[in-house]
């Protein structure tokens, strides 16, 4: 029994970071008032660039390249939606489409259909003494992003709720006019948040191709960017909430995969498709129950115009 729990926990901790980073990125962007439907595309670009960069440079540096690539795509999003006040959903969806088809095209014309050549994975850290402890031992033996993913949500939560910068970020998503009245730059803050969300989504993608896998695959990230949105909503737009939701979804997924191999009888009873739909169904239920009292930022999706006080 303990063994099962140990391996479940271990695979959750391996798979969850990508989702956690993307969910945090989505929270950052949306709390500042910019809708984050482009997460999927930014993750894909991050994953692709990290996998390609890792062919010629040390893997940790390649992860940074992936992050920068995610931020570059976020820069396009910012240019259109902040500078030119385009519809944020349209620009996000456009980036998803471009990243999806562009990734396939580049992969095919540079490396062939089977993905990029394998790369050196990120090193796994073994915490001395922890490995032999039952259940808790699952904490040992992961790569750096896993540990970052366990700490970052709390740091982010602290930043958002306890610092002046956090207050301004939240204000810019709830009532940008108030922020402008204080003499602060609304576009500046939103740019920061959008670029930050690009870095985080790029990191999430890079983790997929450098820690979870050892290459960029055709379908990466296979909808994880949208699941990150679900985690964000489920976690009521708070960093720790989104983290818990992402961890819960990842655990559920690990459980599902475990069940398929160890207890096929149960999967017969509750079909896999229903289990796969569960995160999204739960999110819909939460949204329905919250209704108007939803915790979404008040000015989410509204482009800011200086003149519209």
């Amino acid at each position: 029994m303990l063994d099962v729990l140990h391996s479940l926990l271990f695979s959750t901790l391996d798979a969850a970071p990508a989702l956690i980073f993307a969910a945090l990125g989505a929270v950052l962007s949306e709390r500042a008032g910019v809708i984050a439907v482009g997460m999927e595309g930014m993750m894909r670009v991050g994953a692709f660039c990290a996998a390609v960069a890792a062919l010629t440079m040390p893997t940790p540096l390649a992860v940074v390249m992936g992050m920068l690539a995610g931020a570059a795509l976020a820069g396009v999003h910012g240019f259109l939606s902040i500078r030119w006040r385009s519809d944020q959903v349209v620009s996000g969806i456009a980036l998803n489409l471009v990243a999806l088809a562009g990734g396939t095209f580049l992969l095919e014309s540079l490396y062939g259909p089977n993905g990029t050549p394998p790369i050196q994975q990120l090193t796994r850290w073994h915490i001395p003494g922890l490995g032999s402890v039952p259940v808790l031992g699952a904490l040992s033996g992961h790569s750096a992003p896993t540990y970052l993913a366990l700490l970052l949500p709390f740091a982010f939560q602290g930043l958002l709720t306890r610092t002046p910068l956090g207050l301004r970020l939240r204000a810019v998503g709830d009532k940008p006019q108030a922020v402008a009245t204080l003499g602060l730059s609304v576009p500046g803050l939103r740019w920061g948040a959008v670029l930050g969300s690009g870095l985080l989504a790029g990191l999430g993608g890079a983790v997929l191709s450098t820690a979870v896998l050892d290459r960029f695959e055709q379908h990466t990230p296979a909808g994880l960017g949208f699941m990150a949105l679900a985690a964000m909503v489920f976690g009521r737009w708070t960093p720790v909430g989104a983290f818990l939701a992402a961890a819960f979804f990842a655990f559920g997924n690990a459980l599902r995969i475990g069940l398929v191999s160890s207890a096929p009888g149960l999967v017969e009873l509750i079909p896999q498709g229903v289990l796969l739909a569960l995160p999204y169904l739960l999110t819909l239920v939460v949204l329905t129950l919250q209704g108007q009292r939803s915790s979404a930022p008040a000015a989410l999706g509204t482009p800011y115009e200086q003149e519209s006080r």
């Binding site: 349209v90 489409l97 471009v98 580049l106 014309s109 796969l276």
Partner: protein
Amino acid sequence: MPERVRQMLPSVLSVLLALGVCWALIALTLEPGTATDAYLQMLWGGIGNWPAYLDGAAATVITRPLGESAMKAAILTLTGLSVAVAFKVGLFNIGAQGQMLLGALAAAVMGAQVSLPGVLHVPAALLGAALAGAAWAGIAGLLRIYRGVHEVISTIMLNWVALSLVDNWLVVGPLRGAAEGGQSITGTAEIQATAVLPRLLGEGSRLNLGFPLALAAALAVWVWLTRTRSGFETRAVGLGAEAARAAGIPVARRMGLAMALAGAMAGLAGAVLVLGTEGRYPGTLGAPYGFDGIAIALIGNNHPLGATVSALFFGVLRAGGTRMQLLGVHKSFPELIQGLALLFVAGRMVWLALLRRRNVAPAASAEVPRA
């Protein structure tokens, strides 16, 4: 410059720019000559190889590609209409993909498990698909109207619920077709001959009834929006829900009906795919035509006829895309052109600013597509 032209210009320029950028992409990753060849292959693959035909080749070098283009254009038109109709009432329907899956499944079930005479079977299956799509979109509509849940989030969630439930449960479980001739099949059972959309140009071309059907749907939506009272009210709600409410327009009903109609269009797209070309709900529906609908609608300026034109254009490119494979360019390349075009259309304000600076015309009405 007439207002109508000015409205269309950003879309046209965006598509041209996307074509140029993508040409440069192939030229950089492969070779400039290859890029031009690939574009020519795409063209001949889309509208038919006219040079070969004029040199005396069989007529199928024209009819086969045209059939493929028409088939893709029909589906893109319907999903584009789905997004455009929702836009007109002020809702952003990202859920066309999920609604299409449900429609496709309904058409596959109606086509295979219901026995009806030929004249009735196709309409019944189409109706079933439209209702299934409408119901799925209706969930998002109701959540928006009664619970204030933003439709962008709810339709994204509904897409994944539909995908998981249909592809990973129903189609591999309860609705999986029985083995044929000792070989197990993927997907649902094959639809009966009476439910197949009739081919219009014989067996050499896959052009089927779905194409005129999609064009008729676009025309009907346009007439409804511009020539009827409820269509006018729908547009009024989209332009300003509060003002519409003050004018006595039943806002909730208009929103609900427009969303249901959007879902019905996406459902029909699924039906055209299943009844026209696939013959069953395959293991997985493949191309994300529902997401393409967003690009089609916005490039078409959210106008039913504009969406049709953009669907025809990208239908041709998409059908031609398969021929680019010969030159080492992935067949999804036209999707990249389409995605970039959408990205450039999203920068509509940039275009308008550029155009204004050029010819100091009276300020263009900056009608931005709004969610």
